[in-house]
Symmetry: C3
Subunit: 251 residues, 3 copies
Amino acid sequence: MIITLTTDFGEFYPAEMKGVILSINPHARIIDITHSVREHSIIEASFLLYSAIDWFPENSIHVCVVDPGVGTERKPLMIRCGETYLVGPDNGVLIPSARKKGEFTVYEIKKRFFKRISSTFHGRDIFAPAAGYLSGGTSPEELGEPADEWVDLNILTARREGETLHGMVLYVDRFGNIVTNIPSTMVEDASFVHLKSSKLPLVRFYEAVPPNTPLAIRGSHDFLEISVNRGNARKLFGLKPGDKITVRLEW
Amino acid sequence: MIITLTTDFGEFYPAEMKGVILSINPHARIIDITHSVREHSIIEASFLLYSAIDWFPENSIHVCVVDPGVGTERKPLMIRCGETYLVGPDNGVLIPSARKKGEFTVYEIKKRFFKRISSTFHGRDIFAPAAGYLSGGTSPEELGEPADEWVDLNILTARREGETLHGMVLYVDRFGNIVTNIPSTMVEDASFVHLKSSKLPLVRFYEAVPPNTPLAIRGSHDFLEISVNRGNARKLFGLKPGDKITVRLEW
Amino acid sequence: MIITLTTDFGEFYPAEMKGVILSINPHARIIDITHSVREHSIIEASFLLYSAIDWFPENSIHVCVVDPGVGTERKPLMIRCGETYLVGPDNGVLIPSARKKGEFTVYEIKKRFFKRISSTFHGRDIFAPAAGYLSGGTSPEELGEPADEWVDLNILTARREGETLHGMVLYVDRFGNIVTNIPSTMVEDASFVHLKSSKLPLVRFYEAVPPNTPLAIRGSHDFLEISVNRGNARKLFGLKPGDKITVRLEW
């Protein structure tokens, strides 16, 4: 059974999560989605899991821990969506993925896996062992109990007003490509996208414009992206996950 | 069966490639070679695969995607070299590895794995599924057809003129060690290597010179490398993959 | 059987180590602890292994290569601690983990695994194959012989003088959290920790103070840590692994 990990932990801490998981279920297959989420960016992490989840088998367990409130009263959650489980803190980070899967049931993790639980690393002390046991066939009822309340998060908030689209930045990748939450369908037949003082051609692939030219494109996750062919749109436009973005379409 | 991944994608996108592969072949073993290739550096990626390939079992599949031309007419390729498969774009990145393996046959991938193929992420939509099916025993003939033409790339271009060697930088590692394409055999009995205005002793190990001293060394991939003991040669000499490099030998 | 890897190699070189291991033992499970140890920081690497080792099954093999002396006469080692093996250079990096495990036997690796051994990459040419064979059941006696002498390293050197604690920085994580070698038990009942000119509250979780406020906390590895809630203590205090740190307690 596949367990994926999405965190803002950097390189070292996830290894301890893997040690915990493999100590519980030596047969788990662990796949890193990323551990480089912008520190504390619940929005970015929720988007990355929301995007990646489609490409994994249904019977996978997805652990997502971006958790600035670790150690406070915020609940640790498991969410069952059909055959898929989501595991992480109750700060909304799991919810866009849960909604995408359809019907879901939220559980609070109640089981105490270790005698000492740190107050700064629930990824290792709570979420990893929960995922390990779920992957071995333990039911969520044995690990916790249904939760009636949980923190909601909606990242699909883009809206259109005439020619103008109001959205949000969800992710900026290594190339500086800016992924927005504006669905590709909202820009389907436009020719240009105005962003700040720039008029960007809406193209089908990067090389449709000369090197170092900014462009707009329907990205591989079905959202509008802002890029620079062989260059870096982040450096040009200075946007980061969570920033609001307003663009105007031209036909 | 082992599938290796070499890309310039950074941390997140390779996870979706892994999800695709494991959805097709749950038994594939996926090993990351690197996802930190300098953005768009076909030369660096081709060198890293060329170097790594020797250390993996023959019946491995190596996916290498540095692909600035993604979405254009450039062909997606599979190359069969004995028991080994190489998978990636037709921009030369696979060719040094194919030539190293000896006889090889180039195929264009023709199969459409998904209803929608993005124009920016063929790593996920074309190359990962091709590798997944090959790893499960599907033949390349079922996934595509032989290609007569493909883009060539030769990274083994160093040449000697008397005491002078003309080469190219292939890779700069995390320590700032500069890996050239000058074969170690070309410098075998020299005592010094002159680079720009520096006279570097050709040593057998880093600690043969004092800390922060530049040096030349026959590297672990059988090419001449420029280093600084416990320091950083990249910072000192300012070289990057693809740059020309000229050195003069002294005995 | 699990083989973990801890190095300062960055992203590419560990892949060749994995190829070597899997060529010897195709069933080995390889887990990266980190490859981003601060270059040449034996102290940091020894701490990370020392911390991670508790979370892995006993019958694991831990390879740790931070090795500025590679190619010199320094010995390559295997250490047997009960069911656990440690593999790496004789520069002390393995010793804190060995001592934590209790009784241990040190072996020098004598076997020559390849015709050519590079003088710069023993991770691939000596340590990876040793781990591969050990994971397949080869005994350490077949790969080397007991070593009477080896370089010691003690990272647990913190001491108390009245209200003052003298320690060392072991690790600075991605968030800028500064992990010291001062055991949490040494600060158990204090209310404040004075560091340089700052008076830091000793709290139970990050959110106990407002954003951007520095704090002290008993960390998830049972050492005192210096943090900034939603901020970066490294940037504020400018400390790195190996630096001495002196704090004063207040009740």
